[in-house]
Structure formats: C-alpha cells, structure tokens
C-alpha cells in the first residue's frame, strides 16, 4: 500500500528539533495528557483489582436477611456460628479447627494521636479464625491483637486519611470511647481487607455493648458446598439468615461501582480528546510554516501520501516519546499510590492495561493530530503553495 517512495526518516526527526521550544511544549502537554490517562486507568484498574481480589468462591458469608446488600446493617445472633457448625456439612477444617469466623463489622470514627479530626474507618471484630477463612491475610509486622489491641491493614491509614506512621505498631488510636494499641499490621493481597482495622471480637462487643454479630464467614471444602449453606438458610426461615458466596458479594459491589468506572472511562476519553486538540494545534503551526517546503517536495516528485506520512510520523514520534516518559513517571509516581474511597482504600495500578491504553491514546494523538493539518496543506495546488511565504 506504500507503493510510493517515502521521505527519509531523518527528515521527520530533525523537523522536531526545528522549533525546539514548541516541540518541548507539545511534548510536555502530551506527557501530561498521557499521565492523566494513566492515573484514571490506574484508578479504574485499582478499584477493579481490589474488589476482585477480595472475593473467594470457597467462602460463604452468612448475614441477616433484612440487611439488603449491606453487611454493616446486618445483625445476627451471637449463636449463629455454633449453629452453622452443628448444622452444615462440608465446612473446611484444619488443625482440628473449623473454618468458621464470627465477625462484627462496622464503620466508625477513629482518632489517631497526631490528628484532631477523626477519620471514618472500617472496624472488624474477629476471632483467631478470621485469618483461616480469609487466607490471604498475612501479618507482616507485629502480632495478633490481644485485649485492647488492634491489627491494622496496610491501607487503613489511607482510608483514615492519616500518615502511615500514625498507625505504626505500638501507637494508640481510639474509637467508640476506648483507646486501642496497634499490635501489628497485615496485608491481604490487595483486597478490601487491607483498609480495615481488626480488633478482638469479644473486646469489641464489650466496648460496643453488643452481643450480636454482623456476619459469619465460613470456609467450605469447595464452591459447590456454598450452595448447601444457602439451602440451610432458606430452609430455616425462622433464623432470617442469608448466605452469599464472598466472590458473589464483591462482584455485586463491582456492579455497584460500575457508574464510577464508566465515569472513569469518560474522563479518559475527554482527556484524550483535549490532548488531540493540543496535538492538532501544534501540527497546524508546524505545517502552516512549511507550505512552500511541502510544495517543493511535491514538485520534486514526492507523492502527497508520502508527505502526509512524514508529517504523521513526526507527530507520532513526539507523542510516543511523551508516552514513554509518562509511563516511566506513572510507574514511579502513580503505581501503588493509595486512594481513599467510601468502601475502603485501594492502590492505583499502572499495569499492562493502563500502559496499552496510554500508548494507544498517544498514537492516536499523533495520527489524529497530524492528519487534518497535513491534509489541509496538501489540498493547496502545488503552483500556489510554491509561492507561499
């Protein structure tokens, strides 16, 4: 399809250095555009990943039927854990312990030492069974909490909007009228648990003057047996319980955040669109001053297509260089940056998807930005263009 002879590659490259300050400005603009695209895609990807990593298909969450989809509103009797243990088969066990984790889950204001304003935090009252069921939870520093102590997730400080040091092992935080000591930190493979604060269940119940639970998380032998728990809950209508696979629960949350993700993609499109205008503007400038030169090339025998391609090459080269720098900056600055969000905190991800989207946007910026001005310059008859100043 490129039957016509092309202009030397050097010609396009050197033209970029013809007006260095203008090229540099465009380069800066394009870098910012691509970086913005990376941030937004990183946001979308981070959110998706956080929700996807949380759901385990082997784990079933049992909570109250009346709480709709929101576990924070759920209240079930404290005896539910032993009831489930006695009534359902297929519960996983190891070291003589059944994988049944009774939990109290709530959002509450948490105050840290250095900050006056309390932040909205997520607290989960747990027993030592919790890490068995949530098997990606791993203590990376300190110890499992004793009475009056809490274990904090890696991103809990982001959720609270405080410094990581404010939740360092040994520091004190307070919520619900009691002061707690941080005994350790945990990670959970990027899942939503990482933004939570875990306290011993009994201690939390005493503090809150509650005897009920929010939910019971049960680790099953296989995903099929999750259905058995569901069946049990349906049969015992009197208990008013509901069983949902953890993976399904978070998939539903994902759906809940669909508008946010859609908005994210709209922002990507808008940012890319504005970038195209920046690119167009520069290329118009670059081409307008070269009308006579482009006509000279035509008079010499270069076909319009070859000249068009050279102009696209120039713009694309600049855009791709900008994409490269933006990706490097993105990996250094954006990747792993924590973001607060209503349901927790998560990290921005600069992954292959983000980088591909960014590079595609950059290539588009180059091509779409160069074609209209180039085509405009080519439309002028050679005899007229050759007299242009």
């Amino acid at each position: 399809m490129l039957g016509s002879k092309l202009l030397p590659w050097d010609y396009g490259v050197r033209n970029l250095f013809r007006r260095p300050s203008r090229s540099a400005l465009t380069f800066g603009g394009l870098t910012i555009v691509v970086l913005l695209v990376l941030v937004v895609v990183g946001f979308i990807r981070g959110l998706e990943k956080s929700l996807a990593a949380t759901g385990n298909p082997n784990v079933v969450l049992v909570y109250s039927l009346s709480s709709a989809a929101d576990i924070e509103n759920s209240s079930i009797p404290g005896s539910t854990a032993s009831l489930l243990s006695a009534s359902v088969d297929g519960v996983r066990r190891g070291h003589g312990v059944e994988y049944i984790s009774p939990e109290l889950y709530l959002g509450t204001r948490i105050t840290t030492a250095t900050v006056d304003e309390p932040g909205m935090g997520l607290v989960r009252g747990v027993t030592t069974n919790a890490p068995l069921v949530r098997d990606r939870v791993q203590i990376v520093e300190g110890f499992w909490p004793q009475a009056g102590e809490v274990l904090v997730g890696r991103l809990a400080h982001s959720k609270l909007g405080v410094q990581s040091d404010d939740l360092a092992v040994g520091s004190e935080i307070s919520f619900d009228g009691k002061t707690w000591k941080v005994s350790g930190r945990f990670t959970a493979a990027g899942s939503a648990f990482e933004s939570e604060v875990w306290a011993p269940l009994a201690d939390l119940q005493t503090t809150l003057k509650r005897q009920d639970l929010s939910l019971v998380a049960v680790g099953m032998e296989s995903p099929q047996q999750v259905a058995d728990v569901d069946m049990f809950c349906r049969e015992r209508v009197d208990l008013e319980l509901k069983a949902v696979a953890e993976s399904a629960y978070y998939a539903a949350l994902q759906k809940h955040y669909k508008p946010v993700r859609m908005l994210g993609w709209v922002v990507v499109a808008l940012v890319a669109g504005s970038g195209i205008f920046a690119g167009l503007n520069t290329m118009y400038g670059a081409v307008v001053g070269r009308v006579r030169e482009l006509a000279t090339l035509q008079a010499m025998g270069y076909r319009r297509r070859a000249i068009l391609l050279t102009l696209v090459q120039e713009a694309t080269l600049l855009a791709c260089a900008a994409a490269l720098i933006a990706c490097v900056l993105g990996l250094l600055l954006v990747d792993g940056a924590a973001v607060r969000f209503t349901m927790g905190a998560f990290m921005l991800r600069v992954d292959s998807v983000g980088i591909s989207v960014a590079c595609t946007v950059a290539a588009l910026l180059g091509v779409v930005g160069a074609i209209p001005p180039a085509a405009k310059a080519m439309r002028l008859p050679v005899v007229e263009a050759i007299k242009a100043i």
Binding site: S4, K5, L7, P8, D10, Y11, R14, N15, F17, R18, R292, E293, T296, L297, Q298, A299, M300, G301, Y302, R303, R304, P381, V382, V383, I386
Partner: protein, 236 residues
C-alpha cells in the same frame, strides 16, 4: 518529434465574472540540448507555461508532450512519479529543505529513483562538484550565502539527470555578481552536461545568454518576431 512539444495550450483562470487567459493557444517545440529563455511582462504567464511543462499545473486545454509522454493525460500520482524522473526545477528562492544539509538536499530527488546507495553517492558528488560546492556538503542552508544556496538548488535540479531543467527567475533575488555566477553555471549545465534548459527571466541581459529567446505577449508566444509553433503540429 522534439523533446518537448507544447500543442495549442490554453490556460484560463476564472476571476469572478471575467476570465484571465495568460496562455491563449500557445505552441512550442524544444529540442534536446536547447537553452531557452522565456521573457515577458509581469503577469504575462511565464511561470504558468513553465509550470505546465514541469507537470505541476494543469492546462485548460491543449497537449504537452515530453520525451514521448503526453503529460497532460497523466493522473496526479503518475505525474509526480514522472516529475521525479524527468524534471529538474530551479526555484527563484532556492527552496532548500532547512533541516537537511547541502548533500542531503541534493540527494533528495534521487531517493525517488531506483538506484543503489553507491550510485546515489556518486551522482550527488558529481552534481556537487559541477556547482563547485564539494567543500560545503555538510553545511545546512542557513550556513550558506544566497548564491551558494542557489548553486545547491541547481545541483539538486540536475542530479537526477532530468529530461528538462526548468528555472523560474533563478537570479531574481541575487546581486549582480552572484547573478553572473549562476548564469555562467546554467550555461555550463547546458554546454558541458548537455542538459535541456528552460529559464524564465525578467532580465534582458540574462535572457540573451540562452540559445533561443522567446517572449509571452498577451497570451501569445513569440520568437524572433513570429509566433512559435510546434514541429509536431507542422508534421501532423
């Protein structure tokens, strides 16, 4: 048949209500090795005729034959390919590419033709030598004087050994001394390299350097007081 045959060519421009007709059925034959100067008042159509022969403009009617090709019938793409092989164009303002060195500017037309890199190198060197600028090969246009730039422009026009070299007021923006240099160079291109040359000029002295002098007057092309004709037309 001659090298270039212009047959009954008319060029019109619609300018609102009225029509401008700088060329009104002109005919002309140019033989191989000819050196023609084309003169006439400003706006008489000199550039128009030259551009038609160079294949960068379209005639309203008539035929132009160059070396056996009826260029008035070629498509735009084919015409571009044809120009690459057959036309060397010397512009009034050299029109060198600023980001390319003298050497690269001269090499540019050769990139359109099938030839080895060694052959290309040889041809560029010969052309640079013909204009006496071998020592300036690696200079950029902005590093050269106007006269040197025009010599590079001439080297670029002759490097592909074209069928016809056309020059539209090649000395139009040069001082007397440099003009003399360029005119001598063009004569040598014709004498020593045997190239066919058509030069548009305002300057009667410059025009006299050519072997044939033609004039455009009110849409007609005159030579020695008579209207020019085409040999093609005579034999037809």
């Amino acid at each position: 048949m001659s090298l270039v045959d212009v047959l009954n060519v008319t060029k019109e421009y619609a300018n609102g209500e009225e029509t401008i007709r700088p060329l009104d059925g002109v005919s002309l034959s140019i033989d191989e090795g000819d050196y023609l100067s084309l003169m006439g008042a400003s706006g008489s159509g000199k550039s128009t005729l030259l551009n038609l022969i160079a294949g960068i403009d379209q005639a309203t009617s008539g035929e132009i034959n160059v070396a056996g090709t009826e260029i008035t019938k070629l498509s735009r793409g084919k015409l571009a390919d044809w120009r690459a092989a057959h036309i060397g164009y010397v512009f009034q303002t050299h029109n060198l590419i600023p980001v390319l060195t003298a050497y690269e500017n001269v090499e540019l037309p050769l990139l359109l033709l099938p030839m080895s890199a060694a052959e290309r190198r040889k041809r560029v060197e010969i052309a640079m030598e013909a204009v006496d600028l071998t020592s300036r090969a690696s200079h950029y246009p902005r590093q050269m004087s106007g006269g040197q730039e025009q010599r590079v422009g001439i080297a670029r026009a002759i490097v592909a050994n074209p069928t016809v070299v056309v020059a539209d007021e090649p000395t139009g923006s040069l001082d007397d001394e440099t003009t003399e240099q360029i005119l001598q160079l063009l004569s040598r291109v014709n004498d020593e390299l045997g190239m066919t040359l058509l030069m548009v000029t305002h300057d009667a002295d410059a025009g006299k350097r050519a072997k044939r002098q033609i004039r455009l007057e009110r849409g007609r092309l005159m030579e020695n007081g008579n209207e020019t004709t085409s040999t093609h037309l005579r034999t037809a």
